[in-house]
């Protein structure tokens, strides 16, 4: 095999590192997007016996957004194995205990159920905020598009921009908005 062929293969099977910002993203829909990257089925060279999965680094997992009343209604079940060992934890409780757990569990449930599942999950790196260690951030080579744009609240705008925004009329000085 010539050197050119060797490095061609090296590049073909090289692992990508994707960055995904979980802020204001639905973890259930995000998992659908992340899973093909972890098992490599988004690649044209994909084969079930082919180890071609990529790494995904999820940041801001503390700021994920569950739809509707899922925070109160979604329940995570766990059983210790002993009698009376069953627990039912609400999503908001689990999220308080570990802000990476909801997205990890969701992705784990959506990965295909075989012996490769744990290894694929090990390529998912979740961080509750945007503080990522350099050893991981240096590897990142691409970014995944967010599913929906992060909404911008009124208090996120700088005061200057708010003041300069064109208005139809001025409020009376003694009017209390909030």
């Amino acid at each position: 095999m010539s050197a050119a062929r060797r490095v061609q293969q090296w590049a073909t099977f090289g692992r990508m590192w994707y960055l995904y910002d979980g802020k204001w993203q639905n973890p259930l829909e995000s998992a659908d997007k992340i899973v093909p990257y972890l098992d490599g089925s988004h690649k044209p060279i994909f084969h079930p016996l082919n180890d071609s999965g990529d790494h995904v680094v999820v940041i801001n997992s503390r700021d994920i957004a569950l739809p509707g009343d899922e925070w109160e209604k979604r329940v995570y079940f766990h059983h210790t194995g002993y009698a009376g060992g069953a627990t039912w934890t609400l999503a908001w409780q689990l999220h308080e205990a570990d802000p990476t757990m909801i997205i990890r569990k969701t992705v784990y449930n959506k990965l295909s159920k075989n012996l490769l599942r744990r290894g694929r999950l090990a390529r998912l790196h979740i961080f509750p905020d945007d503080k990522v260690p350099d050893s991981i951030l240096k590897n990142v080579s691409a970014q995944m598009r967010q599913l929906r744009p992060v909404p911008r609240r009124l208090d996120h705008y700088p005061q200057e921009e708010l003041e300069n925004f064109p208005k139809i009329f001025d409020w009376p000085k003694d009017h209390v908005i909030n």
Binding site: S2, R5, A11, R15, K138, N139
Partner: protein
């Protein structure tokens, strides 16, 4: 007994044990034995005992077949009727022997009569096969030349050889091409040992023809490859021709066209150097007996075709690719080659991938990958050279067949690597 021919005991007379008109029965064994026996078949059926049949024949004492004495008598009396009778009563003997303390070995004989191979046959074949494989792996098995077989006809083989290749060879020259010097020496020595003082072997070896063939191959390969790769430097063309002329390629082609059994040489199978020489001699013969275009087509189809699917990089290795790119760019009046990182992934892991591009005056020259930046830069320079010389994977394939007949052979050398520049290639027509 014999199911294919219905027969009642009353119909069967002496010497006609079976109902078939010609007295032959396909089912062999039992009834053939009965046919040979002068004792009437009927009597065998009616009496139904071995003792009775044997007693009638007069070579057996009544009741002596049982036990040890019976076996002895059986060996002494080889009459077919007795054998058949022993077979018939085989089952009874088993029953009896199970009661006796002594083992009755006559049962294996009856198994032979029934057509059952005994238990030693399969193990014997297994052992023989095992020995065969072992001797083969140790190289102890004599390899028989095809010419040692009794129906070997060398003339017919030579005729068939030329017909297979659809070429017209001069008969005597073809014999000469297939005769190695070692064969003549060996034959002379053999005849002298047999007492022939002057063997008078009117044979020539293939040295001259091989030299002639080598020249033909070299000339054609140079002309063809220069035309096929007009931008490849002359050094690369030389390396390709050298590869085509190498002993490995020549002998592989020789084996491929079936010279193995036709070559007259001392060793068997012929060594690769002998085979290479013979193939070159075959080309030499063809150049004598056929017009040049036909000989060229032969060389193209058998020798040049070995380059198909090969990487030119592996045959012609450029040691310092970045230096060569820099020289070429300098001679072309372009800017220095500048390697730039296009992409990287997994920098902190052992599976790091780097993609580097080579640019000159902000123009893309080529790109390469690697597990380190240095490797990627080297590969990028190689890729830039491949692009310049037009030997990339997407380059047009080597012309064969009708396409090749149109291509005029190029006698003047390509540009050498030292003088290679982009400006000089502008007037070169590429196919």
């Amino acid at each position: 007994m014999c199911g294919s021919h219905a027969l009642t005991p009353s119909e069967a007379g002496p010497g006609q044990p079976c109902g078939a008109a010609d007295g032959r029965c396909i089912k062999g064994g039992w009834l053939m034995a009965a046919k040979l026996c002068p004792v009437p078949y009927k009597s065998l059926e009616t009496h139904g005992t071995t003792q009775a049949a044997a007693a009638k024949h007069g070579c057996h004492k009544e009741g002596s077949l049982s036990g040890e004495g019976g076996r002895q008598d059986f060996q002494e009396c080889r009459h077919p009727a007795v054998i058949m009778a022993a077979a018939l009563t085989g089952v009874r003997l088993v029953l009896r022997s199970s009661c006796c303390t002594t083992v009755n070995r006559a049962i294996s004989s009856s198994a032979r009569v029934f057509g059952i191979k005994s238990r030693w046959v399969a193990p014997l074949y297994k052992t023989l096969k095992h020995r065969h494989i072992k001797m083969k792996s140790l190289g102890l098995m004599p390899v028989n030349k095809r010419s040692e077989f009794i129906e070997w006809n060398y003339d017919a083989e030579l005729y068939a050889f030329s017909k297979r290749l659809q070429e017209e060879f001069d008969g005597d020259a073809l014999r000469e091409a297939l005769t190695d010097a070692s064969y003549i020496a060996k034959e002379t020595q053999r005849q002298q040992e047999l007492g022939v003082s002057d063997p008078g072997l009117a044979m020539n070896n293939n040295k001259e023809l091989a030299a002639r063939g080598e020249t033909v191959i070299t000339e054609y390969c140079f002309g063809y490859l220069r035309a096929a790769f007009p931008l490849l430097p002359e050094e690369g063309i030389s390396a390709l021709v050298e590869y085509c002329q190498s002993e490995d390629v020549m002998s592989a082609v020789g084996y491929g066209i079936g010279l193995r059994d036709l070559v007259l040489c001392e060793e068997h199978p012929p060594s690769s150097s002998t085979m290479a020489r013979c193939f070159q001699a075959i080309v030499g013969v063809l150049s004598v007996s056929s017009p040049a275009p036909r000989c060229h087509a032969f060389v193209r189809d058998f020798v040049v075709a070995q380059l198909v699917g090969k990487d030119i990089d592996t045959i012609w290795k450029v040691e310092n690719p970045m230096g060569v790119v820099a020289d070429i760019l300098h001679q072309s009046g372009r800017g220095e080659p500048e390697p730039r990182l296009i992409f990287q992934s997994g920098q902190e892991t052992i599976q790091a991938v780097y993609h580097v591009g080579v640019y000159s005056d902000k123009k893309f020259m080529g790109s390469g990958y690697g597990e380190t930046v240095e490797t990627a830069v080297k590969e990028a320079a190689h890729d830039a050279l491949r692009k310049l010389f037009q030997i990339t994977d997407s380059a047009s394939p080597l012309p064969f067949g009708k396409d090749a007949d149109v291509v005029p052979l190029k006698t003047e050398a390509n540009i050498s690597l030292d003088n290679w520049s982009i400006d000089k290639t502008k007037n070169i027509i590429t196919c």
